[in-house]
Symmetry: C2
Subunit: 80 residues, 2 copies
């Protein structure tokens, strides 16, 4: 069994209204040091696979097909 963490973030060129709202909320709580906030997804998977190389290919596919939107999002992942 492999544990995988996938990190999905909006591309730098895509505006992030949710991140902006969080930044403003943090500012209003007194955290004026916060200069930028981007909100993405953190996806944890458990895979019934042992072959890490095969898992890596499968996860890459899953990200491109479903977990991320490659038009507006970047993704990275880590097999633990």
């Amino acid at each position: 069994m492999l544990e995988v963490e996938v990190y999905v973030s909006l591309k730098k060129t895509v505006s992030d209204p949710q991140g902006l709202a969080v930044k403003r909320s943090l500012e209003s709580l007194g955290y004026s040091e916060v200069k930028e906030v981007r909100v993405g997804k953190f996806i944890q998977l458990r895979l019934d696979l042992e072959d890490r190389e095969k898992a890596s290919q499968r996860i890459e596919e899953m990200c491109k097909k479903l977990l991320a939107n490659p038009i507006i999002e970047d993704f990275t992942f880590k097999i633990k």
Copy 2:
């Protein structure tokens, strides 16, 4: 300027309907090796601070107050 990554996930005891929906979608795409999916948040911050210890305290506060819901979510973060 410090770059920070915050990872927010639902506690193990909290059910995750979004994760379940993703798992079912992955299964229907043929990824039968997927045994569990949990969906959380991946938050990237840029902070106008140099002191990493102070930053760590401030981020911990931000997580408890706003970025995560400590009743149902766990969080970790990494200062890069």
